[in-house]
């Protein structure tokens, strides 16, 4: 084991241990706690930059920076951490967002500082653990561990209805992921029936899973969807999200939208696609239909919201629909777009939540009816807000576009899986996104000046600290929008690995297609439904 192999365990352990070490801080010294948390998370970010440096980008598809040590030998559980480019980008997203989030909550958190930052750091450790884990049990532990800090963040630091929100969030996601765990355990058990030792090594299980029959894979897929679809959240298991977001503190929302939702899509990417390729190919249209319903449905629901934060929360559901849709296009463009979407959504929606939080800190309300024309009062804030809204709408040149476009392109060109109709339906989301985002911008930022009562407090525009939180995000939005090449290039080999089994299934189907009536007629149905009369 060389030094590089220690980076990933350190990435997980530093926030975890330092977080718990903060318990030792003297009571009532919140100022120390926040500076310390900021320092730790920045340190972790620097460490993750080291990880990028140590990572061999020329073979970005391979698992690197491997740390592999025995853990629970009896059943073959190992502490196995490694990253490929997909994981590394998501780790980077996590480590990048965390200092910003901590900086953003300096003022918002007024009491129990130590606890607050402790949970944030633990959350970070768990999220990094999820993205790095190459052992199923480790993955699952980290996956579930994310629930605990967020439960406390929402339950203690949330707004009025927080306790119900935290419980609902917890139960909802936990219930789903239990089934997921059952699904992957089934695969692990299946592996032993092939005459192998018990192991939870993900790579080994990939190979084992390929021996599953179609029906078995379908069940595995269903089990995986139970947990990951809730986490994403996919329509119709999304209802915990708006509640959790509206009740969560700003930083909770940022992390929830920015990273935690990606655990679901990441899980689908890591497990569903390689482990159940036959089922994925077969049921991709079904999942795509749910994604598309989610895209359109959530967008329309956004449009009638009065609470800014709720609107942004519902927009997340709509956006994540694109993410899942692209993933089940099962081609490089679609899945690549999906991963880009994960990163980009984390940045832009995270930023939007920060912006909303800044308004909430000033006016103690998020009701659109109570405010209007804030551009006059808070010009810098308004500039950032409109900017991130545009990123969220998917304006080309900003980050949101790359992911959105690639997912739709992937769907469009995946004529063997989804095809044009799906892409067209999803693209409707582009229009609706513009509608609801501009509706919000028009009501909050523009219009005649109207401010909620601040009880004599003078409202100031963004402080340097607040600009400091938004500026890095804005810069990243532009960089990812204008020059996404490094990301796309490095993602490509990893994505090819992920979709290889599914592509193989598709290739086999193509060969069979002329003989199998079902496929041919299916295909014809899809295309012919688009034919105008004249063409036939």
């Amino acid at each position: 084991m060389d030094n590089a192999s220690l980076i990933l365990p350190l990435l997980v352990l530093i926030p975890l241990l330092c977080g718990f070490a903060m318990v030792l801080l003297p009571k009532g010294r919140g100022d120390i706690a926040k500076v310390m948390a900021l320092g730790i998370s920045t340190g972790v970010f620097v460490l993750s930059l080291f990880a990028c440096y140590a990572f061999d980008w020329s073979r970005a598809g391979d698992m690197q920076l491997v740390f592999n040590s025995p853990w629970v030998d009896a059943v073959g559980v190992r502490a196995h951490l490694a990253v490929d480019s997909i994981s590394l980008h998501l780790v980077m997203l996590t480590t990048f967002l965390m200092p910003i989030t901590i900086l953003g909550s300096f003022k918002a958190v007024k009491e129990r500082h130590t606890e607050f930052y402790l949970w944030l750091l633990v959350l970070q450790a768990a999220m990094i653990g999820v993205f790095c884990a190459r052992d199923l049990i480790l993955f699952y532990i980290c996956f579930e561990l994310t629930l605990v800090p967020l439960y406390f963040l929402i339950g203690i630091f949330g707004s009025a209805n927080r306790s119900w929100a935290s419980i609902k969030f917890f139960i909802f996601t936990l219930t789903g992921s239990v089934f997921t765990f059952a699904g992957v355990l089934y695969v692990a058990w299946f592996n032993t029936t092939l005459g192998n030792m018990w192991t939870f090594d993900i790579a080994t299980l990939y190979e084992a899973a390929l021996q599953l029959s179609g029906t078995q894979q379908a069940w595995v897929l269903v089990a995986l969807l139970c947990g990951f679809a809730v986490k994403v959240p996919l329509f119709p298991v999304h209802t915990w999200l708006p509640l959790a977001h509206t009740e969560a503190p700003t930083s909770g929302s940022v992390i929830l939208a920015g990273v935690l939702l990606k655990l679901g899509t990441y899980g689908l990417l890591r497990f569903a696609l390689p482990m159940a390729p036959i089922a994925v190919v077969e049921y991709a249209p079904v999942i795509a239909v749910f994604s598309i319903i989610g895209i359109i449905y959530a967008a329309l629901v956004c449009w009638v919201q009065e609470d800014v934060k709720k609107l942004v929360a519902y927009s997340s559901i709509s956006h994540l629909g694109f993410c899942v849709l692209g993933m089940f296009a099962l081609n490089v463009a679609g899945v690549g777009g999906s991963v880009m979407y994960m990163i980009n959504h984390g940045l832009s929606t995270g930023a939007l939540f920060l912006c909303v939080g800044m308004i909430y800190e000033r006016y103690h309300t998020r009701d659109m009816n109570a405010m209007s024309g804030l551009a006059k009062r808070l010009p810098i804030w308004a500039t950032f807000f409109v900017f991130f809204c545009m990123a969220s709408v998917g304006l080309p040149g900003l980050n949101g576009f790359v992911g959105e476009f690639l997912t739709i392109l992937g769907t469009f060109t995946a004529t063997d899986v989804l095809g044009i109709g799906y892409a067209a339906a999803a693209a409707l989301g582009l229009i609706l996104a513009a509608i609801y985002i501009l509706y919000m911008v028009g009501r909050v930022v523009f219009g005649p000046v109207k401010e909620p009562d601040t009880h004599g407090e003078k409202v100031k525009d963004l402080s340097t600290r607040e600009i400091g939180t938004l500026l890095p995000l804005a810069v990243m939005c532009i960089v990812l929008g204008v020059y996404p090449t490094p990301w796309l290039r490095s993602l490509e080999p990893a994505i090819e690995d992920v979709i290889r089994p599914a592509r193989a299934v598709l290739a086999a189907q193509d060969v069979k297609a002329p003989q199998v009536d079902g496929h041919v007629s299916n295909f014809e149905f899809r295309t012919s439904s688009l034919l105008p009369e004249a063409a036939q």
Partner: protein, 736 residues
């Protein structure tokens, strides 16, 4: 890579600085001046310098290109590579780089955009003086010019789309510039959303192009489309070569310009693939319609025209620059650019022509009855854009682009003079509340007169030439559209002069508005005009108008041949389209005089041309006179006639009730669905299923066993007994 005497690559390579300069202006205005208040008065200067610099660079590129015919005969186009943008899926995958496609059509567009942009920026520096958002305004202008230049220079559809959406967002920001005015915010929103509807089509069309042709770069798509078209027409699949271009791996950032030489490569493979796939054949049919949707959205054609009149809520220079001269013509440019693809679908161009013609008529009728000066010009713009689409739709790309070119000048002029009137009357735009302003502001009146003449197609003005070209081609291709166009030309002349006569002639009366710069003047610091009454504009504002006016008069006969030469030698050249495109053929083609192709349909065209020019000459003059009679000498008669047609008048005044119709059939249902879905979300999914079924089922199950778990010892004992029984039963049935 060749270096040719006629073509100076170093100059062409400057093209990549064209969008960069306005971008720098955006950054300086937005960030530096935003942070540093005292320097804000230099905002205009920064933008004018940047846009002017872009114009200078455009001229340089034009010079570097040399003569259009020579340029085209040698290399068809030049691609200036900047850096890689989106590239996924390996060699056969999707690729769209930030690189620029320079051919004569691009150069015309660049010159128009940056030239008119510079003039309007100069005008705006005076017009917007004293506005609190001065730097913001010029930052947005920088953003707009950046996006627009990207749009016209893009070498692939996706970069085009970037520009396309970029102009959309800058238009959004500029329409909503007076953001405290709810109507402005609503108009901005409407513009963006309606444009998005178009973009939806465009994006899908783009993906369709990728699916069929395997690329979105013009240099790969257009030649292939031409080749497919050739095969479609001739039923051949002889695998003859077409142009294609070797694509070197782009250097990541700022590679040098690269001369792309047409060369023979192995082709026929993809064509065969296209003809072999039902899906692709189908797509070929629908792609143009999707792209068209985008064009109609951006260029405010039926049925997506509704945003443009409302967009007049923005400052007047914006209306002139974006909503008259440049952005709205992007649709025309796009169709002209992608003409080879449009040709592949049998009815696509015909549809474009019909929509263009119908919109022209439709908008002209509305313009007849509007009282808001800027709205009249707005509908006039929609109508003129309809002409351009008509032109492109009948394959008269020269006519379409020429009209685009001249229209940019005279419509900018018209808007800016309207802005001057508005400026003078403190924001008054209602022509019922002004009259006889000639005495107060003669220069403005004359300048607007020139614009009006050009718009009305007065003989030998710019508008006359361009309109003529389109109408003649239309008359040949689809006579009914041609006649409709001629009718529109007459209506145009009438409503144009209705406005001019009402505003500038007659007894001098006016009513000042209490609004200026978008807001009721609660801050009076800049409203000194309110106390002085109408007055002439300062020289800073009039100077660009004079240039535009000169353009509006002279451009027609001065640039007629130049534009024709340029367009015919671009990828949009009609001559190229009807010819097969082997390099050999191409080379042969270049020797032919550009006018030569016209002789192919010499007779019908020239007859039509003569007919049209005669009709429009007589028609426009007589219509001007008619308008003069009604609105100068005998306004009472006009009112009598108007009241006789009260119902129609009201119908037209209300713009055919299209807004209301859209509200009822689209906006309202969507909104209702939004509410319904939200209720469904809260009540059914969250309420009934999650909080009801999913929450209460376990809860009921729990309730059912509370007697056992109420904390009484016996309950636990019973549960334990049950457990023992279960274990024993299991043992009994499985082991024993």
């Amino acid at each position: 890579m060749h270096t040719l005497a006629a073509t100076n690559l170093d100059l062409i390579n400057l093209a990549k600085w064209i969008p960069l300069l306005p971008l720098i202006a955006l950054v300086i205005n937005g960030i530096v001046l935003g942070a540093f208040k005292p320097a804000r008065k230099f905002a205009a200067l920064v933008t004018i310098l940047a846009v002017g610099g872009s114009f200078a660079l455009s001229v340089a590129v034009w010079l570097g290109m040399g003569s259009a015919s020579e340029f085209t005969s040698e290399q068809a186009f030049v691609i200036v590579r900047a850096f890689e943008w989106i590239h996924i899926g390996g060699f056969d995958g999707f690729r769209a780089d930030v690189s620029f496609f320079i051919d004569p059509l691009t150069v015309i567009m660049l010159l128009t955009v940056t030239g008119v942009g510079t003039l309007i920026a100069i005008y705006a520096s005076g017009y917007m003086a004293g506005d609190p958002g001065y730097h913001r305004f010029f930052a947005y202008i920088g953003l707009f010019i950046f996006a627009m230049t990207i749009l016209v220079m893009a070498d692939n559809l996706l970069l085009l789309f970037l520009g396309w959406e970029g102009v959309g967002v800058s238009s959004y920001l500029l329409i909503g510039y007076y953001y405290r005015k709810p109507s402005a915010v609503a108009a901005a929103k409407k513009a963006f959303i309606v444009n998005r509807v178009g973009d939806f089509g465009f994006a899908l069309g783009l993906m369709g192009v990728f699916l069929v042709f395997g690329a979105v770069q013009y240099d790969r798509v257009l030649p292939e489309a031409e080749s497919v078209y050739w095969m479609q027409e001739h039923g051949l699949d002889d695998g003859r070569g077409i142009f294609s271009n070797t694509i070197d791996d782009a250097d990541p950032i700022f590679a040098d310009a690269e001369l792309v030489i047409p060369n023979i490569v192995e082709v026929g493979k993809r064509e065969a693939e296209i003809f072999g796939s039902d899906l692709k054949k189908t797509l070929l049919i629908i792609i143009p319609f999707l792209l068209m949707l985008g064009a109609f959205g951006k260029s405010a054609q039926l049925p997506l025209h509704v945003w443009l009149p409302d967009a007049m809520e923005g400052p007047t220079p914006v209306s002139a620059l974006i909503h008259a001269a440049t952005m709205v013509t992007a649709g025309v440019y796009m169709i002209a650019r992608l003409l080879p693809i449009f040709q592949l679908s049998e009815y696509a161009l015909y549809t474009v022509a019909i929509v263009g013609g119908v919109t022209a008529l439709f908008a002209a009728t509305i313009a007849l009855c509007q009282y808001d000066i800027k709205r009249v010009w707005a509908y006039s713009t929609v109508s003129q854009l309809g002409y351009m689409f008509l032109g492109v739709g009948v394959l008269s790309t020269v006519g379409g682009v020429f009209h685009l070119f001249t229209h940019a000048f005279f419509k900018a002029l018209l808007f800016l003079t309207a802005g001057s009137v508005m400026h003078a009357l403190a924001g008054q735009l209602d022509m019922r509340k002004m009259s006889g302003l000639f005495r107060k502001m003669p220069v403005t009146a004359i300048l607007m007169l020139i614009g009006c003449l050009a718009l009305a197609g007065f003989p030998y003005t710019a508008g006359y030439y361009s309109k003529d070209l389109i109408l003649a081609e239309a008359l040949v291709a689809h006579p009914w559209l041609g006649w409709m166009g001629i009718a529109v030309a007459l209506i145009t002349a009438f409503y144009t002069f209705r406005l001019w006569f009402r505003v500038f002639t007659g007894p001098t009366e006016y009513e000042m508005s209490n609004e200026h710069h978008g807001y009721p003047s609660d801050h009076a610091h800049d409203d000194d005009h309110a106390h002085h009454g109408p007055h002439e504009m300062p020289i800073l504002m009039n100077a660009p108008l004079v240039i535009l006016a000169i353009g509006a008069i002279t451009l027609g006969f001065l640039t007629h041949d130049w534009v024709k030469d340029m367009v015919e030698h671009s990828t949009a050249g009609a001559a190229r389209l009807s010819e097969p495109h082997s390099p050999a053929h191409h080379a042969a083609h270049v020797e032919v005089d550009p006018h030569h192709t016209d002789t192919a349909h010499h007779d019908p065209y020239h007859a039509a041309h003569k007919l049209v020019s005669t009709i429009t000459k007589i028609g426009s003059i007589s219509m001007i006179l008619l308008a003069g009679y009604f609105f100068w000498f005998n306004r009472k008669a006009a009112e009598r006639i108007a009241s006789a047609f009260g119902l129609i008048k009201r119908f037209l005044e209300n713009k055919w009730y299209v807004d209301e119709l859209y509200h009822v059939i689209i906006v309202l249902p969507l909104r209702v669905f939004g509410w319904l879905f939200y209720l469904f979300d809260r009540l059914i999914i969250d309420g009934l299923v999650v909080d009801g079924l999913l929450r209460y089922t376990p809860r009921l199950a729990g309730e059912a066993q509370t007697p056992l778990a109420r904390g009484v010892l016996q309950g636990f004992a019973v549960v334990m007994a049950i457990g023992v029984i279960a274990v024993l039963a299991f043992v009994m049935y499985s082991v024993l």
